[in-house]
């Protein structure tokens, strides 16, 4: 079984984000890391291939400056190889532009199953996996919390507002994996060493046959007209507990007539 996993490499979420003042898109000047949201897709892929008794896990990522740091993390977890699409014309791409690029790259890989995180931690539109399916003409099941594959059919528990739906779908299909549903493995030292030698196939837009006008800022067809600071909440009262701070909460709730 061949599983392709979409992974996004994002600025470290621990460092406060900022906008590029010229384009008002997210600044991505520093080193990028594997989006934690995607580590669940990678882990799910590894488990499914193990359960199937063998196969291949390939990664697909679109990133500036041929960034591979995040890809190496996922390769160290156990993925076999990666395709990286990097092109200056991709800067400022929106979800649809990203899906067009990823979809074209995945189409060359003849995957049985395409996995992705439900949403990235930085852009969090939650639309890219479904768009990739749309671009590729594949069925998709989003918000998966459990996936079982048997005889070329995926059985997926899809999270809903009320609980979950059991969904059945013949492969190939795109499935987006909810964060937290599997425990992503930590790369071993051996895995980290091996990852350095795993193949990463770098491509640009021309190699995928995509017109630069369909992606990037031009393809996004949305214009930032203003960025404002949100009004801050007024500073409240901060009390250090000396054993009786619960009384302050009781008083606060009483004033609000909650109790």
């Amino acid at each position: 079984m061949k599983v392709v996993v979409c992974v996004k490499q994002i600025p470290d979420p621990a460092i406060p984000g900022e906008l590029n003042p010229e384009t008002n898109t997210l600044a991505r000047d520093d080193k990028l890391i594997l989006d934690e949201s995607d580590s669940y897709g990678v882990e799910m892929a590894l488990q499914l291939v193990e359960a199937a008794g063998g196969g291949e896990v390939s990664l697909v990522s679109m990133a500036p400056r041929s960034e591979t740091s995040g890809l190496r993390t996922a390769l160290a977890m156990g993925a076999d190889d990666a395709v990286l699409i990097s092109d200056d014309a991709l800067a400022g791409s929106d979800a649809l532009g990203t899906a067009k690029v990823l979809g074209a790259a995945i189409a060359e890989l003849e995957a049985d199953l395409v996995l992705a995180g439900v949403e990235s931690s930085d852009g969090y539109t939650g639309t890219v996996p479904e768009m990739i399916a749309g671009v590729m003409g594949l069925p998709s099941i989003t918000f998966a919390k459990q996936i079982e594959i048997a005889d070329g059919v995926a059985n997926v528990q899809r999270q809903t507002e009320a609980g979950y739906d059991q969904v059945e779908c013949a492969l190939p299909a795109v499935v987006s994996v909810t964060a937290g549903v599997v425990e992503p493995r930590y790369p071993s030292f051996k895995g980290i060493m091996a990852a350095k030698k795993k193949p990463v196939d770098s491509k640009d837009l021309a190699a995928l046959g995509i017109d630069a006008a369909a992606v990037g800022v031009a393809g996004a067809r949305q214009e930032t007209v203003e960025v404002t600071d949100a009004p801050e909440r007024e500073a409240g009262e901060i009390i250090t507990d000396e054993g009786d701070a619960h009384a302050n909460i009781v008083e606060f709730l009483t004033e609000l007539k909650v109790i």
Binding site: S140, F143, Q166, I238, F252
Partner: protein, 320 residues
């Protein structure tokens, strides 16, 4: 200045439209002369309340059956927007809303504006407002692709208010063959048990986070919530760790809550969490780290150990 027509992606069940759908209807009628709705299911059941919130016509998709909403709703919507030429289509940022908007974006080859909390019409075009960096800044974006503009909105961005209108007219829309992309089938639906006040509409919410230390300590959150008639919630950290189900998650992923009082217990206040609760009217935070970001939004912050403050608070409330 207003648009001629906004089409609303209407979600709900046999009891009527969802709260989010009515919020969007209320906003849409301030932006457009006519508000119509497309319902992937339960179109008839939603017509009265949608009409009461300003929707003139509900286009009800027939024959969804056991298919997934996104791919089938989008296939039908693509033809529907060609036939009816709305200026914008509004979606709620829900599971099915995202799927449908994403599929439609591909079919109609135009972008989707996501995670919005506001909208206005400027020079005849849609401008949407999205909070970024945990809600510290807002970015305003003009939609420059051809109409209809596709835009998705976060829950509780607007107040739902009836307009006093009568029931909306209902027109059937036939399902469109989505081809091989439509082959996934729902074989079973499972609702998680719900008891007590629900996160979405509770006046008081008590949430727990990693600072509780261990899964068993979440029982303090439930007990405190019970005493206050509150709903119980959680940070993503303890949902991901498997302590409590996803349905309790408050944040960017998960529920957006705006209760009268939000009590955060052992939650540091990652931006992921703040986005989902900082619209609360009053915020109480208990955390042992005085530098925790949650104190930046708290009206009353207690720097202390949840294992001491919460039991004392629970005792005090019980003895009242």
């Amino acid at each position: 200045m207003t648009l001629a027509q906004i089409l609303l992606f209407a979600e709900g069940d046999a009891d009527g439209p969802s709260g989010l759908t009515l919020e969007l209807a209320t906003k849409a009628r301030t932006l457009a002369d006519t508000v119509t709705a497309f319902a992937p299911a339960h179109g008839e059941a939603m017509a009265a309340e949608l009409g009461a919130h300003g929707v003139s016509t509900v286009y009800a998709l027939e024959g969804l059956g056991d298919g997934l909403v996104g791919v089938h709703a989008a296939a039908a919507l693509a033809g529907h927007i060609d036939a009816t030429s709305p200026d914008a289509v509004f979606f709620g940022q829900t599971t099915d809303g995202r799927d449908t908007a994403a599929r439609l974006a591909v079919l109609a080859d135009r972008p989707v504006s996501t995670n919005n909390v506001g909208a206005e019409i400027v020079d005849g075009g849609l401008v949407t407002e999205e909070p970024i960096f945990g809600g510290t800044q807002n970015i305003f974006t003009a939609y420059r692709a051809p109409a209809p503009a596709l835009a998705m909105f976060r829950p509780k961005s607007f107040e739902a208010e009836p307009s006093g209108g009568g029931a909306a007219a209902v027109e059937s829309v036939a399902a469109v063959d989505a081809g091989e992309a439509g082959r996934a089938k729902v074989t079973g639906r499972h609702a998680e048990e719900r008891s007590g006040p629900q996160l979405d509409d509770a006046a008081v919410v008590v949430s727990g986070g990693r600072g509780l230390g261990q899964p068993e300590a979440y029982s303090m959150v439930d007990e405190l919530a019970g005493l206050l008639g509150a709903a119980s919630g959680a940070s993503r950290a303890i949902v991901d760790a498997g302590w409590v189900p996803y349905a309790k998650q408050v944040g960017q992923t998960g529920k957006v809550v705006k209760p009268n009082v939000y009590i955060a217990c052992g939650i540091s206040g990652a931006t992921q969490h703040l986005v989902g609760m900082k619209g609360s009217k009053n915020i109480v935070a208990i955390n042992k780290d005085p530098e925790a970001p949650i104190f930046g939004v708290a009206d009353l912050g207690i720097v202390g150990d949840v294992h001491k403050v919460m039991p004392a608070l629970i005792e005090a409330l019980k003895s009242r």
